[in-house]
């Protein structure tokens, strides 16, 4: 059977179970769009290509599936780079199809030509330039396999126009075989026995979990482990929801804006069990004193994460879910003794830290951004999918919305890519049409991709955008406030659009709160609406995110409220 590259692509996408593609057309992908139109795959037209990747990223996280995007060559491809880099840092499975100029023009500086594979090499898990239509089916199959297996990540497939248009004999590809790619899922049992011993001998243990727990679907196993061994749990930003945020063993998030108790625990603990984490600098602060009194266990599927930033007592390479399940099995055979009694001193110490510095802010007669998130948590009963932009809004969402379930907190963690939240919310809402999806935003970052309001309205998505509007690029301003003598260089947004009118201009609803007593009313009205809604909360302009660990300081040395 003769099929064109574009037809082959549709066949393979269907085989891979793709039902949604985020994209933006252009000359180099016309053939592909022409075929896409004939399928039942839903195409979501974003308004800028980075948003196609952010939306696919949000979709992938909310649905635990591979997100897919399709953009054209040249500027279409270069625009995707921020989205790809963000997905790469957060290990999100996304497959990006880019158009390319025809093969005979490659290297000629043709119209809308860039070296897409060259540009994206360092920010993809892998990428391909397809030179022959005969290779297309195999490459797409490989791409999906690589994106979702091992430590997941974005894979880019660059398709020259003639490769999509040429017809060849099509033979379905049944199996993908990559001799050099073989991620380790099952942990070394010897190492696990070591971990069991370490847990048995620890007096002041803590678990530090991260995005790997969410990606591998190990939240249940993690909860079982923590409860069985009575070990308190903290997570990184990416790990929020991997352990119930309302559990008595929950310490709150760790790191630069972590809770006082979680950060103090890391300094005091004698065993730190890192699970699906990479000991990022925003977590560890000054690395040579991080968890200085602790033996460290590090469980991760990516060997490069282990011993990259900190020395480890017991490294375990393996998938979090499989590893924790095996670890739980081993622990079931052990007599752990009366753990409540054994841990009493440790828990008493933690309680003293909680009492000394609970997560708090000063109530004043002005809307506090933390209050808005607290109310949002209360009114959504903690059940919403929260996406965030980047900066103070992101940290307040992480601190004051307590996530009980995985895949409910979607944020650009590693790259910290402003403009992520709105397109990610679009992706998440399309993946979970019955869920309430809220983008917690700042007045700065929402404007980075505000054009996606059109996409949301066009698709009839009832996304709620909560803008914590302080008229500043708040996080940078906070650093200037604390470390640069209040010289607010370039961070004051004193010229801003009227977000209510802007919402209306996009065909969405706009609401505004200027006083604390408005907050509940606006949230109530906004959350109940079936439309896309922007809620503009005019908050305390100079509020800061606390606790804060200054960059490069030990994580136990925090600036507090």
């Amino acid at each position: 059977m003769k099929l064109t590259g574009a037809q082959i692509m549709m066949k393979v996408l269907k085989e891979e179970g793709v039902d949604t593609i985020f994209g933006y057309p252009g000359g180099a992908v016309i053939d592909i769009y022409d075929e896409l139109e004939k399928t039942d795959i839903r195409h979501i037209l974003v308004r800028q290509e980075a948003c196609a990747v952010h939306a696919a990223d949000g979709y992938a996280r909310a649905a635990s599936r591979v997100g897919v995007c399709l953009v054209t060559s040249g500027p279409g491809a270069t625009n995707t780079v921020s989205g790809i880099a963000s997905a790469y840092m957060d290990s999100i499975p996304v497959v990006i199809f880019t158009g390319q100029v025809p093969t005979h023009l490659i290297g000629n500086d043709a119209f809308q030509e860039v070296d897409t594979v060259g540009i994206t090499r360092p920010c993809t898990k892998h990428n391909y330039l397809v030179k022959r239509t005969e290779d297309l089916a195999r490459i797409i199959k490989e791409g999906f396999m690589i994106a979702k297996s091992g430590r997941p990540g974005p894979v880019l497939i660059d398709i020259p126009k003639n490769v999509g248009a040429t017809a060849v004999d099509y033979k379905p590809v049944k199996k993908v075989n990559l001799k050099s790619y073989n991620p380790t899922y099952s942990p070394n049992v010897k190492q696990l026995h070591k971990v069991v011993e370490l847990i048995k001998n620890a007096n002041k243990p803590m678990i530090f979990a991260g995005g790997g727990v969410i990606l591998s679907g190990a939240a249940k196993e993690l909860t079982e482990l923590a409860r069985k061994t009575q070990v308190p749990v903290t997570t990184s930003l990416m790990g929020l929801g991997g352990f119930p945020g309302t559990d008595p063993l929950w310490l709150g998030m760790i790191g630069m804006h972590g809770t006082y108790r979680a950060n103090m625990c890391s300094g005091e603990c004698d065993l730190l069990i890192g699970i699906g984490v990479r000991f990022d600098d925003r977590v560890t602060g000054k690395t040579d004193v991080f968890a200085a009194n602790a033996k460290i266990v590090h469980i991760d599927i990516d060997p490069t994460s282990i011993r990259k930033n900190i020395p480890v007592t017991a490294p375990v390479v393996g998938d979090c879910k499989i590893t924790l399940a095996k670890l739980n099995q081993l622990l079931n055979k052990e007599d752990l003794g009366d753990l409540k009694k054994k841990r009493k001193k440790w828990f008493d110490q933690i309680q003293r830290w909680v009492a000394k510095q609970p997560l708090a802010y000063k109530q004043e007669n002005i809307i506090k951004p933390q209050y808005v998130v607290e109310m949002l948590y209360k009114m959504t009963k903690g059940k919403a999918i929260i996406t965030t932009e980047v900066g103070q809004n992101q940290m307040w969402a992480a601190q004051y919305y307590h996530f009980d379930k995985p895949n409910h907190f979607i944020t650009s963690g590693g790259l910290g890519c402003m403009g992520f939240g709105l397109p990610a919310a679009i992706g998440a809402q399309l993946a979970c049409p019955d869920k309430l999806v809220v983008d917690v935003a700042g007045d700065g970052s929402i404007q980075m991709n505000i054009q996606e309001m059109t996409t949301a309205v066009q698709c009839g998505l009832p996304i709620k955008i909560v803008i914590l509007n302080n008229g500043y690029l708040g996080m940078v301003r906070q650093w200037q406030q604390l470390f640069f003598n209040k010289c607010y260089a370039a961070t004051c947004l004193d010229c801003a659009p009227d977000f209510v009118k802007l919402a209306e201009a996009y065909g969405a609803e706009g609401l505004r709160a200027t006083k604390p007593e408005d907050v509940e009313t606006v949230l109530k009205k906004g959350l109940a609406s079936k439309n896309t809604v922007i809620m503009d909360f005019q908050v305390d302009r100079e509020e800061c995110v606390y606790p804060m660990v200054p960059a490069g300081a030990p994580v136990t040395e925090m600036l507090l409220v």
Partner: protein, 162 residues
């Protein structure tokens, strides 16, 4: 921690762009490449990259792990500390004034090199050996005037088949 020289022998898919992935990994992560040698193996689908780098043990561990993470990298061996043979080849174009010709040829003889090209003004000498030998012969030829030099960079193999 002590920085040490390591010779990595890396088997990779013989495909366009693979060298760029390796070079990009080194530059992007601030690792160092001292020399690099790439050629096809007996299997035309596989190439061997011999790469000399330096770093302390944790850096070398990261380099090996990061290389292994590349989809196109099949196998990474660190030869350092194991039994291996290593060689480098150089072509040295040395000024051959009549009063120096005899001495150059004597040196070539002692070092078991070969003169592979002669003109009225120069000899081109082919040298094969390890770094020490390269250094020694270059030191001896320098006073005569070296016009040009081309070196392959180190290649190496385990002594026992692995």
């Amino acid at each position: 921690m002590i920085e040490e020289k390591h010779i990595l022998s890396i088997l990779v898919d013989n495909e366009p762009g693979v060298l760029s992935r390796i070079a990009g990994l080194f530059s992007g992560r601030g690792f160092n490449i001292e020399s690099l040698c790439v050629a096809e193996t007996l299997d035309p689908q596989v190439s061997r990259v011999t790469l000399v780098t330096n770093g302390n043990p944790p850096i070398i561990e990261q380099i090996e792990k990061q290389l292994n993470k590349l989809i196109n990298v099949i196998k990474v061996h660190d030869l350092t500390g194991k039994e291996y043979v290593k060689r480098e080849m150089a072509l040295i174009k040395v000024v051959a004034k009549s009063e120096h010709r005899a001495e150059i040829l004597r040196t070539v003889d002692i070092f078991r090199c070969k003169v592979v090209d002669v003109s009225s003004e120069h000899y081109t000498i082919e040298v094969t050996g390890d770094e020490e030998k390269m250094k020694a012969i270059l030191n001896l030829l320098k006073p005569m005037g070296i016009k040009e030099i081309a070196r392959t960079g180190m290649i190496a193999l385990f002594r026992n088949s692995k």
